[in-house]
C-alpha cells in the first residue's frame, strides 16, 4: 500500500474543480491512437490540431490556451478551452498547465535482509506529510516538492520510496577513506563504492571491452620508461597512499619505489591510449571531480581510479610483474573483495553497473540524530525532518529509477 500526497505547488489552483467532461465521440479514441504512432513532428502536430478541434466542441471555455502557437494560431486568436481539452492535448507534457493535480505516491521498501521489513508509509503518514510541508513568505502553510532542484522529475507526479536508514547503509558499503561524500555523484554496484564525476568517464571506457583489452595487452608487454612520474605526481601519489592507507599505512622506501614503478608503467600505457586523453586533460578539482585531496595530473588520477574501480587490472598487472607483487601484495587490502559481502551479480555486460546518488529527506526523531549521517554513499540528505518515528528512515526520490526492479539491487 502506498501513501499518496497531493502537491499544491502548481499554477492551476484557481481552476474550477469538477470541470471535466465526458467524451463519447469514437473519433477521439481513433485520433488519440494515431497520435501515439505519428511518424513525424509534422504529422503529430496535424493530428494534435484535429484532436483539439474535436475535443474543444462543448468546451466549458474556462481559460485561454497557453500555447496557441503550437497549433499554428496567433496569440490574439487563442481559443478558450477547459481542463478536458488540456487532458487530451498532444503537447500536454510540455505545457506548464499540465502540472495540475500533481501527486506523489510513496512506497515502502527495504534494501537488506537484516533490516528487511519495509516501513509502512501508511503507519507514518503524518511524518511523511511533514516532508512536503512548506511555509510561504506570508507564513501560510503550503504543500511543496522537497526535491525541487535535486530531481528533474520534481513537481511532477511520480513514485517516491520510504526506506529504513539502516538498510541503505548496510546495502551500500563504501571505502572508509572516502571521507568527503558531498560531491560524490553515484555508486558503483560492482566495486561497492561511491563514484565521482571523473569516474563515470573512466568506467564508461572500462566497460568497453576493446579498450580494456588494449589496456591489459599494453600492461602485459612493453618496457617501462623510468622517470615517467612528475615530482608533483610523486607527492600526490604519496598523499593518496596515505589517505587510502595502502600497505596498511606503512610507506617504507621499498613499497614507495614499487608503487611508483607500477604507476609509471600504468601512466605510460594510458598515455598511449587516446581514449583516456580527454579525461586526463580535463581540469580536475580535488574532492569535487575525484575523492582525493591531490593536485596530481589527470593521468595519475585515472590510473589510481582504474585500480580502485576495476581491481582486476591490478591483479592482472601483478600476475605479469611478479617483481612488484613482492611489495604490493598488501596494496589496497579491501579492494579485491567487495565490502560488506553484498556483492551484486551483473551477469551481462550491458547491465547497469552504477546508480546515481539519490536525493533524500531524512526522517528521524531528535534522539536519533546522533545515529545518522547527512551524506551516504548512495544518497544525499537534502532536508531533515525531526518527527516521531520508530527508526530513522529516508524518503528517496529515485530519479526515474524503479528501485524495486533495479538489477543487482535487492539482496544480491
Amino acid at each position: 500500500m502506498a501513501v499518496e500526497i497531493v502537491l499544491s505547488e502548481n499554477q492551476l489552483h484557481t481552476l474550477k474543480k469538477n470541470s471535466k467532461r465526458t467524451l463519447n465521440n469514437p473519433e477521439v479514441e481513433r485520433l488519440f491512437g494515431e497520435l501515439v504512432w505519428a511518424g513525424s513532428a509534422l504529422e503529430f502536430k496535424q493530428i494534435s490540431i484535429f484532436l483539439r478541434e474535436l475535443v474543444t466542441k462543448g468546451s466549458a471555455e474556462e481559460f485561454l490556451c497557453q500555447h496557441p502557437n503550437w497549433f499554428d494560431e496567433t496569440a490574439e486568436s487563442a481559443k478558450l478551452v477547459d481542463r478536458t481539452v488540456c487532458d487530451f492535448c498532444g503537447y500536454r507534457q510540455l505545457c506548464e498547465r499540465a502540472v495540475d493535480n500533481l501527486s506523489v505516491k510513496i512506497l515502502g521498501v527495504s534494501m537488506s535482509e537484516h533490516n528487511g521489513i519495509p516501513l509502512s508509509p501508511e503507519d507514518n503518514q503524518s511524518a511523511l506529510e511533514r516532508c512536503f510541508q512548506g511555509i510561504n513568505q506570508r507564513g501560510e502553510s503550503t504543500v511543496i516538492d522537497p526535491f525541487l532542484g535535486f530531481s528533474p522529475l520534481a513537481n511532477s507526479s511520480r513514485f517516491l520510496y520510504l526506506i529504513p536508514y539502516a538498510s541503505m547503509v548496510e546495502r551500500f558499503p563504501d571505502m572508509p577513506s572516502n571521507q568527503i561524500l558531498h560531491t560524490a555523484i553515484g555508486y558503483d554496484l560492482k566495486s561497492a563504492q561511491s563514484i565521482w564525476p571523473s569516474d563515470i568517464r573512466i568506467l564508461q571506457l572500462l566497460m568497453d571491452k576493446s579498450v580494456l583489452l588494449r589496456l591489459k595487452k599494453s600492461l602485459k608487454s612493453g618496457k617501462r620508461v623510468a622517470g615517467n612520474l612528475t615530482k608533483l605526481d610523486e607527492l600526490s601519489l604519496r598523499d593518496i597512499a596515505r589517505q587510502r592507507q595502502w600497505n596498511m599505512g606503512d610507506t617504507g622506501d621499498e613499497f614507495v619505489m614499487s608503487m611508483q614503478s607500477m604507476f609509471e608503467k600504468i601512466i605510460q600505457v594510458l598515455k598511449a591510449l587516446p581514449e583516456f586523453k580527454p579525461i586526463a586533460m580535463t581540469p580536475m578539482k580535488p574532492f569535487v571531480d575525484h575523492p582525493f585531496n591531490s593536485s596530481g595530473s589527470g593521468w595519475l588520477i585515472i590510473a589510481v581510479r582504474i585500480l580502485e574501480l576495476h581491481p582486476q587490472v591490478l591483479e592482472f598487472y601483478l600476475n605479469h610483474h611478479p617483481e612488484d607483487a613482492l611489495f604490493l601484495n598488501r596494496f589496497m587490502p579491501d579492494s579485491f573483495e567487495r565490502r560488506g559481502g553484498l556483492s551484486v551479480q551483473l551477469d551481462h555486460e550491458e547491465q547497469r553497473r552504477f546508480v546515481p546518488r539519490f536525493p533524500a529527506v531524512l526522517l528521524c526523531s531528535e534522539d536519533q540524530v546522533q545515529q545518522v549521517e547527512l551524506e551516504l554513499s548512495s544518497c544525499r540528505v537534502v532536508r531533515t525532518q525531526l518527527v516521531s518515528i520508530p527508526a530513522p528512515c529516508l524518503l528517496i526520490d529515485p530519479l526515474d529509477f524503479d528501485l524495486n526492479n533495479l538489477q543487482g539491487w535487492n539482496f544480491a
Binding site: 511555509i135 571521507q179 558531498h182
Partner: protein, 345 residues
C-alpha cells in the same frame, strides 16, 4: 544573537563607501520560501544553526523558484520552440523530440557552468560567429546556430573599419523566416548583458553563550569578516557561524550532542576560527577545537585558519571564538550536477 548580527552586518555595509545596503532577513527554521534577491541586490538570510540540516534544500529551492531565472528559462524555451519549428519547416530535422532534449540539456550545462550569459556567448557550442576581413569595407561577420555537427547560418552583419559593436547588435537575419528567431536571440542577449548580478547568502548561526555576554566589538569584527570574506564571494552560498567561549585547559566538549551538533556535519573545509584573544590559551586548546565542537573528523591536510581579533580590552575576559565554515549547497562548482543529474561537459 541573530538580531545583533543583522544590525552589525547592516552597520558594516553602511560604513563601506561602495556598500549598497543588503536585504538582511531573519528566518524561522521552518521557513521554506523567501523572496529571491532582485537584480543587483544582496540577500542575506539568517537562520538558526539547526536549520542547516536542510541547507541544500533551502539554497536550491530559492534558486529554482526565482522568477527571474524562471522567466529566462521560459524565454529560452520559447526560442528553442521557434528554432524547432523553423528546423522542421526547413526539413533540417524530422523528429524534434530528441533534438529538443539535446539542446535543452546543452543549455542546462552552459547555464550551470557559466551562467545565463554563457548561453548566448558565441563559441559555446550553440552559437558561433565567423569573421572575415574585407579590406575595402570592414569585418563581415556571420552568426551560426550549431547543432548535430552542422553550422546553420542565421544572420550577418558588417562592422565598418573603426566601428565597435556590442554583443549581437546589428545582425540581420539572412531570411525573413529567421527574423523572429534573431530578434529573440538579440533580445535575450541584451537582457543578460544589462542584468545586474545579485547574490544570496544563507547564514546558519548559533551562540553558545547568552547574547548579552558577547562584546559588541567582537560581533562587529565577525560581521566585517563575513561581509568582506564570505558574502561577496559567490552568487549563492551557505555558511555556518558558531559563537562560544574557549574554556582554556578544559577538554570538555562545547555542547552535548544535539540537533546543532548534527547540523555541524554539514560543515566543509576550509574552517575559519576567529578568537577574541589568545590570552591564557595553549596550543592544544586550538588543536582540539574541531573535536570539542563535534566537527566532522578531518585529517591534518585540511586547513583551519586561525586569527585573533586585536582588541586589548577583551584580553581581560575569557577568550571568545567565532567559528565559520562553508556548507555544501550543491551548485555546479562543487557538484558537477544539474537538477540532480550528473553532466559531463
Amino acid at each position: 544573537m541573530l538580531e545583533r548580527l543583522k544590525q552589525s552586518i547592516l552597520r558594516c555595509y553602511a560604513s563601506s563607501p561602495e556598500g549598497r545596503a543588503p536585504r538582511v532577513q531573519i528566518l524561522d527554521k521552518d521557513c521554506t520560501d523567501l523572496e529571491p534577491p532582485r537584480a543587483g541586490e544582496t540577500l542575506i538570510a539568517l537562520l538558526p544553526l539547526s536549520a542547516a540540516t536542510s541547507a541544500p534544500f533551502h539554497s536550491r529551492r530559492t534558486q529554482y523558484t526565482d522568477p527571474e531565472a524562471n522567466e529566462f528559462s521560459q524565454r529560452i524555451d520559447d526560442l528553442i520552440r521557434d528554432l524547432q519549428s523553423w528546423l522542421v519547416s526547413e526539413k533540417y530535422i524530422e523528429d524534434d523530440n530528441f533534438w529538443s532534449y539535446d539542446v535543452r540539456n546543452k543549455i542546462g550545462q552552459i547555464r550551470s557552468s557559466t551562467g545565463d550569459a554563457g548561453v548566448l556567448r558565441p563559441g559555446n557550442g550553440l552559437l558561433s560567429v565567423s569573421s572575415e576581413l574585407i579590406a575595402s569595407k570592414g569585418h563581415q561577420e556571420s552568426l551560426y546556430f550549431c547543432f548535430g555537427g552542422m553550422d546553420l547560418l542565421l544572420a550577418e552583419r558588417l562592422i565598418p573599419h573603426g566601428n565597435a559593436i556590442n554583443g549581437l547588435d546589428d545582425f540581420v537575419a539572412i531570411h525573413r523566416s529567421l527574423d523572429a528567431i534573431l530578434e529573440a536571440i538579440v533580445g535575450l542577449s541584451l537582457t543578460v548583458r544589462q542584468r545586474r548580478v545579485s547574490s544570496m547568502t544563507f547564514l546558519y548561526v548559533h551562540s553558545l553563550f547568552e547574547k548579552e555576554k558577547a562584546p559588541q566589538s567582537f560581533i562587529d569584527h565577525v560581521a566585517r569578516h563575513l561581509v568582506h570574506e564570505v558574502i561577496a564571494e559567490t552568487k549563492v552560498q551557505s555558511q555556518c557561524l558558531v559563537f562560544g567561549q574557549m574554556r582554556p585547559g578544559s577538554e570538555a566538549t562545547y555542547m552535548s550532542p544535539n540537533v546543532e551538533t548534527f547540523a555541524l556535519k554539514r560543515c566543509t573545509p576550509p574552517f575559519e576560527l576567529i578568537l577574541s584573544s589568545t590570552a591564557d590559551l595553549e596550543l592544544d586548546d586550538v588543536l582540539n577545537f574541531s573535536k570539542r565542537l563535534h566537527l566532522p573528523p578531518l585529517s591534518l591536510q585540511f586547513e583551519m585558519h586561525v586569527s585573533e581579533f586585536e582588541d586589548t580590552s577583551l584580553n581581560q575576559m575569557t577568550p571568545l571564538f567565532a567559528f565559520s565554515s562553508p556548507i555544501w549547497s550543491g551548485f555546479w562548482s562543487t557538484s558537477r550536477e544539474i537538477n540532480g543529474e550528473q553532466v559531463i561537459i
